[in-house]
Symmetry: C2
Subunit: 335 residues, 2 copies
């Protein structure tokens, strides 16, 4: 698309909405959506015995991505993955999403096309079509995504169900996204979107099948997604469940890349505090732990430790010393 | 609340979320909400035969409000009213909302409290409790609200159902909000939130009962809310329905306040292009027009003209001349 068409497109909100609608129109059958982009609101048929699951997430220039560093298709992929991750964390399946986009005039050409390309790819990957949204002009890129999902009534896995004695598990390897971010931050060259060290940072994949399976089999007593980092998120799960926890340093699945320069960038702190993992953290009662395999749906599942009575969240190091696990993950209010 | 407590509150995202949750906790029975603020996502039970109605709206500092001019409680009221208005425009009833809020540190004390007060008031007025959201820190106030509603399957009133011969109606008086905005823009004094000329600009009320009644009785063939201004919005309804329209200048219910200085501020252009009305624009087939009273649920209902074949949208002036009605309402991409 040439610059002239790009410029014309964004002189009118209706044209921009129509362009976004065409770019995101599902390339897969969308039986769930009665009415999508173009009216005042989207319509979704309800089914008795189901619950609607709703979540929304900011994805803001400067805070969550750097427009001159991150590929636009990664911004598109990740803004949806981030919001849908909250549905996966409850064991729900995605149904549709709403996109709120504020866009500077200068990015309404190629950048917008590539952004929508990444968003469409995530939408197809997650089987989650666009249902509507809102657009406006702004001097910075502002994104907010509302993810809408569904699960059978009563099957959603909350943060609050962990009991003393439950085993704590995590999917995948932790800190890979944070490792990728450090590579981006420390490199002066343009990002190579195909660099395997950046994959989890740029195009996180969600553990959709694992989450659904845990909900369907009623295996997890509590679950959440790791978005801020294990050290913060385990504390949140424990607080919601009014329990404590004890995990072992040596069990934590750290990144498998070569070390990065800088003393703060050791593998363990990346895994504990890095954030942006979108892996699943869940607990399972003692009588059902044997049902959790070490690998499922192409994802490693690692046992980290146990839920305990009381309030403390501890990490046991290689010498057997238990240290309080301080929540040092991502918190926008502590930057 | 003193400044010290305010400062402490926003040093931690979890504390801010808890504060918002307490401030917005419904003072009215909320049977619809299975799980609200505090987990990964909100849960809403589904009922067979119903449709979920979803809409989201930006409300941004500088674009939609001026933080040093508009009272914080008006910002809170209006960001929710604006989003719920899209549900009302389909004849749906509100069920809950999600709040995405990005906030500068300096506004996390009194401003936040008053903002949440206005939001809570609108939430109670619209019977629409908070179900969740997302918060982050930012140097400007950014708000995005997702409104979630419900209507019986197939009863939602779309923009696309108007037919040639249908009568066009509008609720309330148009241009009152735009008049209020002009008062705010032209006055150098601090805003008096009780100034009746500002009421519709600061605290718009929605035509919830009228919208539901039109949907329940299947009276309206098409409907939308007037958010950008009649001159733009009537064109959108006609485009969606693939029809034209002809309305009469002298029928348009203009504001009933004393004139404002400046040649662009005549009453008719305020009513046609002003925007922010959140009144309902709807069409009714000839055989059912007699069922529309002149006043209902304490709101005037005004006949404006007719839907016609073809594409043109015309306005007939006092001398009987039909002029094309140019869409000159609010469009963030044309500022």
């Amino acid at each position: 698309m040439n610059e002239r068409r790009s410029r014309r497109r964004e002189t009118n909100e209706a044209e921009l909405v129509a362009f976004i609608g065409r770019a995101l129109s599902p390339g897969f059958p969308s039986r769930t959506l009665a009415l999508g982009i173009g009216d005042d609101a989207a319509l979704l048929p309800q089914t008795s015995g189901q619950e609607t699951v709703l979540s929304c997430d900011w994805f803001l220039e400067g805070t969550h991505f750097l427009p001159n560093r991150h590929p636009p298709d990664s911004v598109g992929w990740k803004c949806l993955a981030r919001a849908v991750s909250d549905l996966v964390a409850m064991g729900a399946r995605p149904r549709c999403f709403l996109l709120s986009l504020a866009l500077p005039a200068r990015l309404s050409g190629k950048w917008l096309e590539r952004f929508l390309g990444g968003l469409k790819a995530a939408s197809e990957n997650l089987n989650c079509p666009a249902a509507g949204g809102d657009t406006t002009r702004r001097d910075e890129v502002l994104i907010n995504v509302t993810a809408v999902g569904e699960c059978p009534m009563g099957s959603a896995i909350l943060r609050s169900g962990a009991k003393p004695g439950d085993s704590i598990f995590v999917s995948g390897r932790l800190g890979q996204a944070a490792y990728g971010l450090r590579v981006v931050e420390t490199s002066k060259r343009a990002i190579n979107p195909r660099d395997p060290r950046l994959h989890r940072h740029l195009y996180p994949e969600l553990r959709l099948k694992l989450g659904s399976w845990l909900a369907r089999e009623r295996l997890a007593t509590a679950m959440m997604d790791l978005s801020d980092g294990l050290s913060s998120d385990l504390g949140k799960l424990c607080q919601a469940s009014r329990v404590g926890a004890r995990i072992e340093t040596e069990r934590i699945p750290t990144p498998r890349f070569s070390p990065l320069p800088g003393r703060d960038y050791d593998e363990l702190s990346l895994a504990l505090d890095g954030g942006d993992d979108y892996e699943l953290l869940f607990t399972v009662s003692p009588d059902r732990c044997h049902e959790i395999p070490r690998r499922l749906f192409n994802t490693a599942i690692t046992f980290l430790g146990h839920i305990r009575r009381g309030k403390g969240v501890f990490i046991v190091n290689g010498e057997g010393r238990a240290l309080p696990l301080a929540g040092s993950g991502w918190d926008p209010f502590r930057r």
